[in-house]
């Protein structure tokens, strides 16, 4: 672990209109880590990711990426710095083909040959997509869409990948496969991963460190094996 975190949030606050969603979040992610945020519905996990990416404006606090503040940066300027998100619900472009979805992931890139190479690499990683490159994204199954969404994010050659509830609505076998790929991305390409999950079980086994969020605040932070042994966590999130 290097000294400087790749991503750091300091007392970040955010609101939807007059409703405060984040009431002072602080967390950090070091290069090469897989960090997970768990918490109940409405805790503010997705909002955190959207605030990092600039879709929701932070009303207070600082967001530092690679040591530089990004809370005032326009959302569409972040992917080119290596910060990409796979948002909740996949959000693939429904009426674009699989190939076009992937191409959009590399929109900000100019290096045509490398883009082609990455496209082939993603199709190798997800053979089920390779069979359907011309199919419209909206007609894919949930699991296929999730893979497409991840593949699209990978097309941006991210240094830091934010994943919002990748397991949502998917069959356990597919979830397992997806997390295998997440681990592979982290090990092989060195991509740092910040993972938001309602499924605490999966999240805590995939990540090395974890944050627990409740109603807009971070209530706990620890290594995931210690979190898993924590009786409160077990009662609240691991179904004991």
């Amino acid at each position: 672990m290097a000294d400087q975190p790749l991503l750091e949030l300091r007392d970040v606050e955010a609101a939807y209109g007059n409703i405060k969603a984040l009431k002072g979040i602080s967390l950090c992610v070091y290069p090469g880590e897989i960090v997970s945020i768990i918490g109940a519905n409405g805790a503010g996990k997705s909002t955190t990711l959207m605030t990092i990416c600039g879709i929701v404006r932070a009303t207070a606090g600082e967001i530092l990426y690679q040591g530089r503040p990004i809370q005032d940066k326009a959302a569409d300027r972040l992917p080119q710095t290596g910060l990409c998100q796979v948002p909740e619900g996949r959000r693939i472009f429904p009426r674009l083909s699989v190939r076009e979805n992937l191409e959009m992931g590399a929109f900000f890139r100019r290096d045509k040959d490398d883009i082609k190479r990455d496209l082939d690499h993603v199709l190798e990683l997800f053979p089920v997509l390779a069979e359907r490159t011309k199919q419209e994204g909206g007609t894919l199954s949930g699991g296929e869409q999730q893979m497409l969404a991840i593949g699209r994010a990978l097309m941006g050659r991210p240094k830091m990948l934010l994943l919002d509830e990748p397991s949502l609505g998917l069959a356990p076998l597919i979830v397992k496969r997806i997390f295998e790929i997440v681990a592979q991305i982290n090990e092989q390409d060195g991509t740092t991963i910040l993972l938001v999950e309602q499924n605490a079980n999966i999240a805590l086994s995939a990540a090395s460190r974890g944050y627990v969020m409740e109603t807009g605040r971070v209530t706990m932070e620890d290594a995931t094996d210690r979190l898993r042994d924590n009786p409160e966590i077990r009662k609240a999130y691991l179904g004991e």
């Binding site: 992917p79 959000r91 693939i92 472009f93 076009e100 191409e103 959009m104 900000f108």
Partner: protein, 304 residues
């Protein structure tokens, strides 16, 4: 029978014009869910720019020596002019209202429409402005019955070229895919690095350019332009866009041709005074029975 075929040809010509205008409506609605009331004025402004440029060139004799170059130059310059106009309108009247209520943007659009229409009137006069005598007089007769004028061939030809060009742009280029992506999910497009403001500007520019071309061709076909020529064709073109499925580019093209055909046929066989009414009736019928249009909508139906 010959009458029918003749009307088909007329319908094709008119339909192409409506298709060009409808594309602007559909692309803008697809991307920011706004009925750009001012779009009809881009059509009119294009017509006027065509007159101004062709008159100027005609005055200096270029129309006699190089008519086709003159036409091409006028077309290109008018389209560019209207593109700039549309981008300006977007920045003034729509960009500040990006997060406002639908009613506010609609009224802002209305205000712009009135402003532009009157701007044209004040700078160019209230009366019809005649196009320089068309250089494509005459035509030929097909099979001894069908009259096809060279003007019609030219219009259909240019329209086809523009439609094919737009199709290639939207479906085969990176920017076109980005335009479609932004229309389908604005938030996600930002998350992959697409600058939606820029895409929106480009959309406006493209739509207005096509409308400008339509304006010139209408001016050449009917021989003149008027400051308020944008109002009724604007509504009909919007009807065409809705008929084809709002936001759907292929739909707008198809819808335009259908509306054009229906109008010509209805004018020929039913009643020519009420011909404008038919497009409105189609609009109301489509929105009542099949609001997503015949080829499906293409808008951002996500919630953040």
């Amino acid at each position: 029978m010959e009458y029918f075929l003749q009307q088909m040809i007329n319908g094709l010509t008119l339909g192409g014009v409506y298709a060009l205008i409808a594309l602007g409506y559909t692309m803008v609605y697809g991307i920011i869910q706004l009925i750009n009331f001012a779009h009809g004025e881009f059509f009119a402004a294009g017509g006027y720019m065509g007159v101004i440029l062709l008159s100027f060139l005609s005055f200096h004799g270029y129309m006699d020596t190089h008519p086709w170059w003159c036409l091409t130059a006028s077309l290109v310059l008018s389209m560019s002019y209207c593109a700039l106009l549309a981008m300006a309108v977007e920045k003034i009247a729509y960009l500040p209202l990006r997060h406002a209520s639908r009613l506010s943007v609609l009224l802002s659009a209305l205000g712009m429409s009135i402003f532009l229409q009157n701007g044209l009137m004040l700078t160019q006069g209230v009366y019809d402005k005649p196009y320089p005598t068309s250089f494509t007089h005459g035509g030929f007769v097909l099979g001894n019955v069908l009259q096809i004028s060279y003007m019609q061939i030219m219009i259909v030809g240019i329209t086809a070229l523009l439609l094919v060009g737009l199709n290639r742009l939207v479906f085969k280029t990176r920017i076109g895919t980005a335009m479609r992506a932004t229309a389908q999910d604005k938030v996600m497009s930002a998350l992959v690095g697409i600058n939606s403001s820029r895409i929106i500007s480009i959309t406006f520019a493209l739509g207005a350019g096509l409308a400008a071309a339509a304006g010139i061709m209408v001016g050449l076909y009917y021989g003149s332009v008027r400051y308020d020529m944008g109002f009724v064709p604007g509504i009909k073109a919007f009807a065409a866009a809705v008929l084809g499925g709002i936001g759907n580019i292929t739909g707008a093209m198809v819808g335009g041709f259908i509306i054009g055909m229906v109008e010509i046929m209805a004018a020929g066989y039913i009643s020519s005074e009420y011909k404008d009414v038919f497009a409105f009736i189609i609009l109301i019928a489509v929105l009542y029975f099949m609001p997503t249009g015949i080829m499906g909508e293409n808008v951002d139906d996500t919630r953040v």
